[in-house]
């Protein structure tokens, strides 16, 4: 089928592209399927997918709303708009207020996209939770009351590594997930390359092709296909009830129904459920296979003893329905028990069959209450930091939102100028508005892990109180590692910064193996940690109100600081490395609001006094692993 815009035949479609177009076609048929997350989508693709979708529903792609990390509440819901000169001359105003973007009546924008769901701003994530799947929505801001019936289709992109950190409440609004990491995998032929240069709609060799002409859709006056009991039960089984959220049942059921509608069928059949499940990476249990044929009545075999528990389920309240399971041998090509019956839609790659619902997995570590404005503890000074997400009334002159203040004052200018004609804009104290900021971390923790002292000691318990503090305080993390296996340099420490302890690298660092007879550049590691903390405490955008420096070491640093800086050992070193570590540690004394603790392995046989010397130099304490801090 040729591209509607260029008349050229589209490039060969790869399996991922075919799955994408199939899912988008289903969303065309029924927007209530829910939001779609494209996992590991190549950059720049999302807007093209949204444009494809818009063309399929005969909507103007210019109305696509893109939401990102910088959107504030006013960006989403309300905007000042210019009135006409004629209305001003007639006693109206040049300044009007209009609902905007997401609140556009009567049904909102046709498509909303979030190019990186993991970095969307708080107002955006709250908007998704409020609007996606809602029958009705309201906005009440700045004198405006707008009510509409949202019919927006939501598309988002997210890296697989970030999914587990997102709010499950947010992810639940995107019940359809599809892994598209290989969407751009195919290499280009010269002809495809030239075609893409000439046509923006052709992203590459895996271009989507034009939207299909759906046959037998409700738009053609035909009702949605019916779903019988067997298919409905198959849906519930595929989703994995009762552990999985109920919204996924509805999404999968609607997806199967849409596939049936696209195929012109009046009834949803089990093959549609299998296809739908495969599209989103769900595996239908092996014991549920396709029937011998696709009769109008599903065969009713005796129940299997492995599923005896199902027979204990209560009867449905309406007295209808059967609890029998449907079984029978497959007849379509392919091995029994596998969904190789998907002739029209290629099976996804193995990596996409499981794990698209990262929030269900044991490794999921979402931030607590990430859909709420984070509570921030501040010291006496109020610092203007963090992403601006809105404005709020204030009685102070700090961090003013000039535009919001002026707009608030603009409402009253005519009245105020009656008593004070000829003056410029008159602003009262009640007009003052300050920026409402999402806020960055105002706490920090630097952890120095000396892997050479670890050996068989499990330091997780000892670190737990500090990691827990960092989690609840949403502290920024600096991790310094030394003496581990395969460092960048034996004579230096490795360092990285993370936004929170939920960063996967933190867990990897804690479980990393110590090197064999590795040097211990403790002085260099301490120097790195103290420098990072100094920057955060004094100069960072998130000026830190309180911080911890946690040093996990036995104090036996055997690499002098100069050796680390030069990258070579000068020769026999004696106690020079230890003395350098103590000297560097003294730099922590100058850091206000930073508390230090040394965690030493229990039962030190040699130089047991070194951790105490180190703690003294830091101006801190040694953690007593038996009885608590001392």
């Amino acid at each position: 089928m040729a591209s509607p815009d260029t008349g050229r035949a589209p490039a060969a479609v790869n399996p991922s592209a075919e799955r994408v177009t199939t899912i988008l076609s289903c969303v065309v048929v029924d927007r209530r399927i829910g939001g779609v997350i494209f996992i590991d989508l190549p950059p720049g693709w999302l807007i093209h997918l949204a444009s494809w979708l818009c063309r399929a529903i005969a909507a103007d792609p210019a109305r696509i709303v893109t939401l990102g990390s910088a959107d504030s509440e006013d960006d989403l819901w309300w905007r000042p708009a210019a009135g006409s000169a004629e209305s001003a001359a007639e006693g109206g105003s040049r300044l009007l207020h209009r609902p905007c973007r997401l609140a556009e009546p009567p049904h909102g924008p046709p498509v909303a996209i979030i190019p990186d769901l993991a970095r969307a701003s708080l107002p955006v994530t709250q908007a998704v939770v409020s609007l996606s799947g809602a029958d009705t929505a309201v906005v009440d801001r700045h004198g405006q009351h707008v009510k509409w019936e949202p019919r927006t289709r939501w598309l988002a992109a997210c890296a697989r590594a970030d999914l587990g950190r997102l709010s499950p409440h947010l992810l639940d609004r995107f019940p359809v997930r599809i892994d598209v990491a290989d969407l751009d995998a195919a290499s280009w032929s010269p002809e495809e390359f030239r075609a893409a240069l000439a046509d923006d709609h052709l992203m590459g060799p895996s271009s989507l092709g034009p939207p299909p002409q759906p046959a037998g859709t409700p738009a053609a006056g035909r009702p949605f296909p019916s779903m019988g009991e067997a298919c409905a039960r198959l849906v519930v089984k595929a989703v994995g009830a009762p552990a999985a959220p109920a919204r996924r049942d509805l999404a999968l059921g609607r997806l199967a129904r849409a596939l049936a509608a696209l195929g012109g069928s009046e009834e949803v059949r089990q093959v549609h459920v299998h296809r739908a499940a495969a599209l989103v990476g769900l595996a239908v249990p092996d014991d549920v296979v396709l029937p011998q044929s696709e009769p109008a009545q599903d065969p009713v075999p005796p129940p299997d003893k492995d599923h005896a528990g199902d027979q204990e389920s209560p009867e449905p309240s309406n007295g209808g329905g059967s609890r029998d399971r449907v079984r029978g041998p497959m007849t379509t090509a392919g091995e029994p028990g596998r969904f190789s019956a998907l002739k029209d839609v290629p099976a996804p790659p193995t990596s996409a069959v499981t794990g698209n619902y990262a929030e269900d997995g044991p490794e999921a570590l979402p931030e607590f209450a990430s859909l709420r404005r984070p509570w921030q503890w501040r010291g006496k000074r109020r610092a203007a930091r963090g992403l601006i997400v809105g404005s709020e009334a204030t009685r102070e002159m700090a961090d003013l939102s000039i535009m919001s203040t002026v707009l608030e004052a603009a409402k009253y200018q005519r009245i105020r100028h009656v008593s004070a004609p000829g003056r410029g804009i008159v602003i009262y104290g009640a007009d003052l508005r300050r920026n409402r900021r999402q806020g960055g971390p105002d706490t920090a923790i630097a952890i120095v892990l000396d892997h050479t002292c670890r050996r068989k000691w499990d330091w997780t318990d000892a670190l737990t109180p500090y990691l827990g503090w960092a989690y609840t305080q949403r502290a920024a993390v600096t991790m310094v590692e030394l003496g581990h296996r395969d460092p960048a340099s034996d004579l230096r420490a490795d360092v990285y910064r993370a936004d929170s302890v939920l960063d996967r690298r933190i867990a990897a660092s804690l479980s990393r193996s110590p090197g064999r007879a590795s040097p211990s550049p403790l002085a260099y590691g301490l120097d790195l940690a103290i420098q990072h903390l100094r920057r955060q405490v004094r100069y960072g955008a998130a000026s830190t109100d309180q911080a911890w420096l946690v040093v996990v070491s036995d104090g036996r640093g055997n690499v002098p600081l100069e050796a680390s800086l030069r990258g070579q050992l000068p020769g026999p070193i004696g106690r020079e490395g230890i003395d350098d570590a103590l000297t560097v540690a003294a730099g922590a004394l100058s850091l206000s609001r930073v508390r230090s603790v040394v965690i030493a392995p229990p039962g030190l046989a040699y130089y047991p006094e070194l951790p105490f010397d180190l703690a003294k130099a830091l101006g801190g304490i040694v953690a007593d692993l038996a009885d608590g801090e001392i």
């Binding site: 700045h142 409700p218 009991e229």
Partner: protein, 333 residues
């Protein structure tokens, strides 16, 4: 062009599956507004918003007054109409609280995702809910308006809990859970897909029956409400004592818990068509009135209701023991 058909009717209240406790709590709050509103707390996808909206639609024929997440103070409290201000005209625009409390009886203020609201909006609602007076002193306006409304809120506890002061403002707390088994999930899926095929202009027999059930239910609730307004179902001293004893055993602070329990038990008796408020009614409403009022657990989280709590309540609602003569205390002497 949008290809999907759009139903023009709300999901029938009687079609909600597996959430009888939530439905009954909403009904109690309607029959006896003095109970003080309902907080529906549960995981995602448990029909919290669907049920609350369906209930409001059944009772009033319209969606409830809703407080959205991004609301500003002027829309919550009320303010001048902006377009008219720009023309030097002052036209007052009622806020959401006043709209909710404007009817003959207490209205409903519906707050979806109540735990995501900004603290300052929460404070505004707290103040008005506790005093029943809406004070508006802003933008040159000076108004004091009596309002009566109940708050119905939904929340997902994964996103954090409410402050104790706001928790106490809700008369009843209902903890909802996902459908227990595959059978119930199947029923829910079947019902929702069936609803999406409905055409409001020519509803199927099933939908018509559902809407008819809603009408009947509304009639029952309205009659129950009238019975309470007429002074029927006054609780006996025995009921009052039992309620106080239950609250004391759970060590809840203040006396709001037993007041809510008695009012809710009374409403439940009216809904059920009983002639008296019975201990069984107290037992049913006790979890809804007490869960959010007792001390949090050691790590600060709210303790969910447990079978052990049921045993405690059952001791206080058990029939009175016979006296030493073998006669019941009411008959002795």
């Amino acid at each position: 062009m949008d290809n999907a058909p759009e139903p023009t009717t709300v999901f029938p209240y009687s079609w909600v599956i597996g959430q009888e406790t939530m439905q009954r709590a909403l009904e109690i709050s309607y029959v006896s507004p003095a109970v003080g509103g309902v907080l529906i707390r549960g995981q995602r996808g448990t029909a919290k918003s669907t049920t609350a909206r369906a209930f409001a639609q059944m009772i009033s024929g319209d969606f409830p007054v809703t407080l959205p997440i991004g609301a500003t103070d002027d829309r919550v409290l009320g303010g001048w109409r902006v377009e008219d201000l720009l023309k030097s005209e002052t036209t007052w625009q009622r806020g959401l609280i006043e709209e909710a409390g404007a009817g003959d009886g207490p209205g409903m203020l519906y707050i979806d995702e109540v735990n995501l609201l900004d603290d300052h909006l929460v404070n505004i609602i707290l103040d008005v809910a506790s005093t029943g007076i809406l004070l508006v002193q802003r933008d040159g306006a000076d108004k004091s308006i009596q309002v009566r409304f109940v708050i119905v809120g939904t929340m997902n506890p994964e996103e954090g809990n409410l402050r104790p002061q706001l928790l106490d403002r809700f008369g009843l707390l209902v903890e909802v859970e996902s459908a227990a088994g595959e059978q119930e999930r199947y029923e829910i899926l079947r019902r929702v897909l069936q609803f999406e095929k409905e055409d409001a202009k020519s509803p199927s027999g099933d939908l018509a029956a559902g809407l008819s059930s809603d009408e009947e239910r509304k009639r029952v609730l309205t009659q129950a409400r009238r019975r309470l307004a007429d002074g029927e179902l006054e609780p006996s001293d025995d009921i009052l004592r039992r309620a106080a004893d239950i609250a004391a055993e759970f060590k809840v602070e203040g006396h709001r818990a037993e007041l809510v329990m008695v009012r809710a038990a009374r409403a439940l008796a009216a809904i059920d068509g009983d002639s008296d408020v019975l201990p069984e009614h107290l037992a049913w409403v006790a979890p809804l009135a007490l869960t959010h009022r007792r001390s949090p657990s050691g790590n600060g989280t709210m303790q969910s209701w447990s079978p052990a709590d049921d045993i405690i309540v059952s001791r206080h609602v058990a029939p009175a023991e016979a006296g030493p003569t073998g006669a019941k205390p009411a008959e002795a002497g």
